[in-house]
């Protein structure tokens, strides 16, 4: 089973295998190119050798023989290098977490825990609203109380002023004054009655 090395791809932005494949192809191309160059040079040199009985086909066979040998070693060595690359260079060690995933370590939240957290937030938001409404209701009542108190105080002031009026006119306390008025009027009545009796 292929290890897709997705975590490495997340870090590098490419899969290590692709990177190695790219290097392999490039190296292999160079090997072929250099072999081709070698063969070209030899053919050219041969043209300059008088009486040379080696044919280009023979040279081609030599080239293929050497290349086949080199290619075998190349694949073997490259396979070993690739393993080392994938194990030691293009690999995120299993105990290592990438920086962008730090939060997974710091806040290991399961879906259930996360839902609980969201539920708690929703409850808190409701509570917030309730407290806001409570605050408004309390402030409204305080406002009302202020108005009522003013009214009541006005009424009390009215009573005070009434009494002050009385006081300004010599009667400090209405009740007493009324009592004294009633007594005086009764006295007046008695006097009048007396006067009427004597005049008869």
């Amino acid at each position: 089973s292929v290890d897709p090395m997705t975590y490495e791809a997340q870090f590098f932005g490419f899969t290590p295998q692709t990177c190695m494949f790219r290097i392999y192809i490039a190296f292999q191309d160079y090997l072929f190119e250099v072999m081709q160059a070698v063969e070209q040079v030899i053919l050219k040199k041969m043209e300059g050798i008088p009486g040379c009985d080696i044919t280009p086909v023979q040279i081609r066979k030599c080239t293929e023989k050497f290349l086949c040998f080199m290619k075998g070693h190349f694949d073997n060595l490259f396979g070993k290098m690739e393993q080392l690359f994938l194990q030691m260079i293009l690999r995120i060690p299993p105990n290592i977490l990438l920086p962008e995933d730090k939060c997974q370590e710091m806040y290991p939240y399961s879906e259930e825990e996360f839902q609980l957290l969201q539920k708690e937030i929703k409850e808190l938001q409701e509570k917030c609203k309730v407290e806001m409404y409570t605050k408004q209701a309390l402030l409204a009542e305080l406002e009302e109380q202020k108005i009522v108190e003013d009214k009541l105080k006005q009424t009390l002031t009215l009573f005070d002023e009434l009494e002050n009026v009385g006081r300004d006119h010599g009667t400090s306390d209405f009740r007493e004054s009324l009592v004294s008025v009633v007594q005086n009027s009764r006295k007046l009545q008695d006097i009048r009655d007396n006067v009427e009796k004597e005049s008869k």
Partner: protein, 173 residues
């Protein structure tokens, strides 16, 4: 710990050394036997050129790849990440394959922050409302007191009014 860049260069060098060692001059002349017999010096020069060119091309390719993918910087940053995380021994977290699941931890810190803010907000508001409630209760007591006073004064005046009516009646007679 050897840096990854150094490891990479070492591995490529080793690869080249071994490749060249495998494709030795001996092996080369075995393959190009006739030509070698005709032109031994030329063969040597061509072989040397082959080796130099192969090494130069492969090294150039590696430099290009390093350049292209900014590989040196990336590998150095990986060295740093590994160095920083080396204390941890057990396997680290890896994506679960279910994005929703993995996102929980990404979002958690922000939701925790929101929860704490809301908690503080609610506590503050509750405390304020507590004070307001006390003020309302005190206000209610105050209003009751004033109402009582007004009532008392009102009753006194009504009593007075009754007496005055009596007086008026008496006086009228």
């Amino acid at each position: 710990a050897v840096s990854r860049v150094k490891l990479l260069d070492t591995m490529v060098d080793t690869f080249l050394q071994k490749l060249i060692a495998a494709g030795s001059y001996q092996r080369f002349t075995d393959c190009y036997k006739h030509f070698h017999q005709l032109q031994p010096e030329m063969t040597q020069r061509i072989y040397d050129k082959f080796v130099t060119q192969l090494q130069a091309s492969i090294r150039e390719e590696i430099s290009e790849i390093k350049e292209e993918g900014n590989l040196e910087t990336v590998l150095m940053s990986l060295d740093k990440i590994v160095e920083d995380g080396k204390k941890r021994k057990e396997p680290a977290w890896r994506p679960s394959g279910t994005p929703e699941k993995d996102l929980c931890s990404v979002l958690a810190p922000y939701f925790l922050q929101q929860r704490d803010t809301l908690r503080r907000h609610v506590q503050k508001q509750e405390a304020k409302n507590q004070e307001l409630a006390e003020a309302v209760l005190a206000g209610r007591r105050q209003v009751e007191e004033l109402q009582r006073q007004v009532q008392a004064r009102q009753q006194a005046w009504q009593a007075l009014h009754r007496e005055r009516r009596e007086l008026a009646a008496v006086l009228k007679e």
